[in-house]
Symmetry: C2
Subunit: 605 residues, 2 copies
Amino acid sequence: MGRREQDLKPASPTDQVGLWLSDFGDALAANDIQAALALFNDDCYWRDLLCFTWNIKTSEGKPGVAATLQGTLASAKPSGWRIDGEANRVDDVTDGWFTFETPLARCKGHVRLKDGKCFTLLTLMDELKGFEEPRGERRERGVQHGVSRDRKTWLESRAQEEAELGRSVQPYCVIIGGGQGGIGLAARLRQLNVPALIVDKLPRPGDAWRNRYKSLCLHDPVWLDHMPYIPFPDHWPVFSPKDKIGDWLEMYVKVMELPYWGGTECTHAHYDAQTKEWSVTISRNGEMITLRPKQLVLATGMSGVPNIPKFPGAESFKGTQYHSSQHRSGEAFAGKRCVVVGSNNSAHDICADLWEHGADVTMLQRSSTLVARSETLMELSSGRLYSEAALKRGINTDKADLMSSSMPYGVMAKVQVPVYAEMATRDKAFYDRLRKVGFMLDFGEDGSGLFVKYIRRGSGYYIDVGGSELIANGEVKLKSGVSVTRITPDSVVLSDGSEVPADLIVYATGYGSMNGWAAKIISQEVADRVGKCWGVGSGTTNDPGPWEGELRNMWKPTRQEALWFHGGNLQQSRIYSKYLALQLKARMEGIPTPVFDLAAVHHLS
Amino acid sequence: MGRREQDLKPASPTDQVGLWLSDFGDALAANDIQAALALFNDDCYWRDLLCFTWNIKTSEGKPGVAATLQGTLASAKPSGWRIDGEANRVDDVTDGWFTFETPLARCKGHVRLKDGKCFTLLTLMDELKGFEEPRGERRERGVQHGVSRDRKTWLESRAQEEAELGRSVQPYCVIIGGGQGGIGLAARLRQLNVPALIVDKLPRPGDAWRNRYKSLCLHDPVWLDHMPYIPFPDHWPVFSPKDKIGDWLEMYVKVMELPYWGGTECTHAHYDAQTKEWSVTISRNGEMITLRPKQLVLATGMSGVPNIPKFPGAESFKGTQYHSSQHRSGEAFAGKRCVVVGSNNSAHDICADLWEHGADVTMLQRSSTLVARSETLMELSSGRLYSEAALKRGINTDKADLMSSSMPYGVMAKVQVPVYAEMATRDKAFYDRLRKVGFMLDFGEDGSGLFVKYIRRGSGYYIDVGGSELIANGEVKLKSGVSVTRITPDSVVLSDGSEVPADLIVYATGYGSMNGWAAKIISQEVADRVGKCWGVGSGTTNDPGPWEGELRNMWKPTRQEALWFHGGNLQQSRIYSKYLALQLKARMEGIPTPVFDLAAVHHLS
């Protein structure tokens, strides 16, 4: 059938995507960028995870797509575009999955068509040819069958590795921070045979969770939280208690055979641009050791260094004061007057914890907060891809991860606005009660909700698991629209002139950018060279422009050679650890990795 | 369409099974046993796992089926027979899966039809109504949302349970033996909310594996070996090294939250038929404690107590002598003369280990051994249901377990004969080389192969992972067709009059029946009352008749109330721990469990 005839009759979604894909493939094979552009809408987004750009990059509009093709096509040499499964059509959008390859890699992709032309395109690297993970049919045998007089058992090999790594054998990569992020990345690197060593200042994997306040549970439901390779079993609770996650991570490190040095603090790291090697000075249970990896990953938490505001008089305070990250339990504060500065997740959790232990608690809210009820959030938002219902529709974690990767940040806000309009309606009574006690609410500056706010600034919201009730019913007192003016020996004085007596002040005032860790560990110069981490440049509070369209500096090359930032929630860590691992593997193997359009630095923190 | 018309045209497999099922369901609903029997071939087998019999029972032939229906139909009251998925037809056998229920339970089943009538029928209990496991949509939330001043965290609850269980709170069930069997059973009981405590004399879970000889790997490939609930990740090696399995089990105990007392030896157990309670005396790291469970499970390994033959003069031997279960490593025996008595799995592994360490090794083979090359075994036998290829055909572990449960032991031998005929042909050169050095081979007395031999006697075979090459090429010396006459201070004297000098004698002479553990722990009287464990009564060597058609005493009620035997390889432990757990749960909940046709005892060991 000729192309013209095909155009005249309504094509099936699969035919339509197949046709688009074959035209797109042909245009790229012919190096005909104009022909390729003709397949895109004016309003278009192309998100590439490594295949073309060796970067994490969204190109926007035809000029953006043109520039990226111009800059990458010659080296990427994509081919073999094949539709994968059946395409779908919902309203005016037809979407489908596909596979393709480059000389270096096997890749996957997704396209959304409007009026037959591309609205969004995702291209992602799935595996490097010749460096496939040993899964399924490729798994190792585990035992060399046959007999041999110099057989080394698994246990002996493990013991040897443990004795040598970081001593006589240098890891290719050092990961600073042994939370879920560092652990998941190390697991992927292990499967790719990249020698990596995690260092963490706490003794055991999982301790970062164990050391938090005792009522803490994951705020994301279990379907979002799986680690790579070993998913939680299907009786795992919806919201994991922190100590249970701690045990899981400790087990995971063990059975995934991840080199992990607990009780180890990184005191300094320095990159030698000549030898292209880091020297990473660590103190391991008191012993000073210098590691010499080629790559350094900061997996210290996307939240960065705690923000502790400097209020006049704070040094005179006679009670206890600390940052929310230091809060362990309200146990010691029964009957005490506690002031929690802040109104986001941690502030709510800590208020509830203090109240549960019989403290007299006041929350100080300076600016509005996005509150979403956990149940509603699951139903309206994450549950579409991550839930039992999604699993029943055949959307397993891998598929859900691909689908969520397919949505460019530039489109996400628009898509989310109606979700939160629905939330406002559905939970109106709940929100009215909060407003009535003066709690200031928002759904983001453009009404785009929680996940977008998280992407923009990593803060400014509370997923309600009960704390809002305490605010609404007055069990936890609220001072809103005020800020702290100064602190006296036994109180907090507010901008409205009022004074709140206090035995405890908790600063639930958030965290700085992750490059603060670079400043601490490497140098201010390197931190400034790299610039702000996180945020997409939306021009909203705490996410200044210009628009970048991807999270700044996360999981991708930075302005400091061989320095990488890894973090985010469990879902993001799972998804993006894969692409970070592929980038590290490619560099270790000497595969050319020309980075297209390394992001400019606009903000230092 | 009338029944007659249907009969005239060739029905699809699904129609045929659906029709059979509806007829069968109708007959049972009408309590019309004759009508039900009319649906069976004369040559027929009905395997029931709990649904009808509260037993593990295969009824054979029409009289067998009639008797079981007669004895169980009134209490089982099955209904709601529905075909599950599409049926298949291969040659003259049509087979399909179905579901049904009883007032107490949701059940599954499988039927094979020949000429439209039942050849084999499987009915199994899947879950007890009202006591479903908290999986998927039923999973716990993990955190009580909302706030509460007497909130107990997960960690506090766990600590409390640990402090109380076995002290102020008695476990409903004590499991003696913390290998994969005891652990998997405990996991199922935990999910069913049956308080159970594992006791094991070794300190840490997995130590039973860690303490074996260092070259040991699982002889079954990974696809057979998954534990319940948390399958191995898909990079797990085909043949797990023993220490890696040890770590996995230790992790499993932790994250499945299984109460496990290591370093704990059971010295005595006594059942009080009046109070229906066991008193189980244990020594936990030196402290004597008496546990008072309602149920006692011996999960001490289906191999039972080591068989150590009493040879004249053994006490005069000046070298080292021990049972194969005591062998740790050949390290100490470089250059020493080692005699291994036996020619099965352990004997081969230990010969290879000693040879690898530079010992001078002689194997003594008294009678013939079934040798199967590991590769060939996977290809021709287990791989049909358990392999990457099977996974690609949609046969996951659950399905494979159901399918393997559907084959009655009475049919299995016949089915396996051609598999081993094929093996003999395919590996002829291999077998010829073994025969040439005098190694005596068999494929079972009726040629039915390894798994059937395992079911009959749990021994008599070697899965070749390299040891046979050492025999064939003479690196390990072989004396076959001989037995030990006596032992001198420095040699073993054989029945052919020859004498083999020895510094080490290893008795790879197998294990007794599991009721030997009952004799050790409870009393000889109880051991005799229960009788021999394992074996199906095939009338072949070490499996005396009469025919029972199921494994004696395994995972089902025994002649000693509240005493249970659990064991087998990882596959069997995974499959049958489920049915054992359901039996224990039903008893704990006071659900009536009338046992049909409790097996008679014919042999004491």
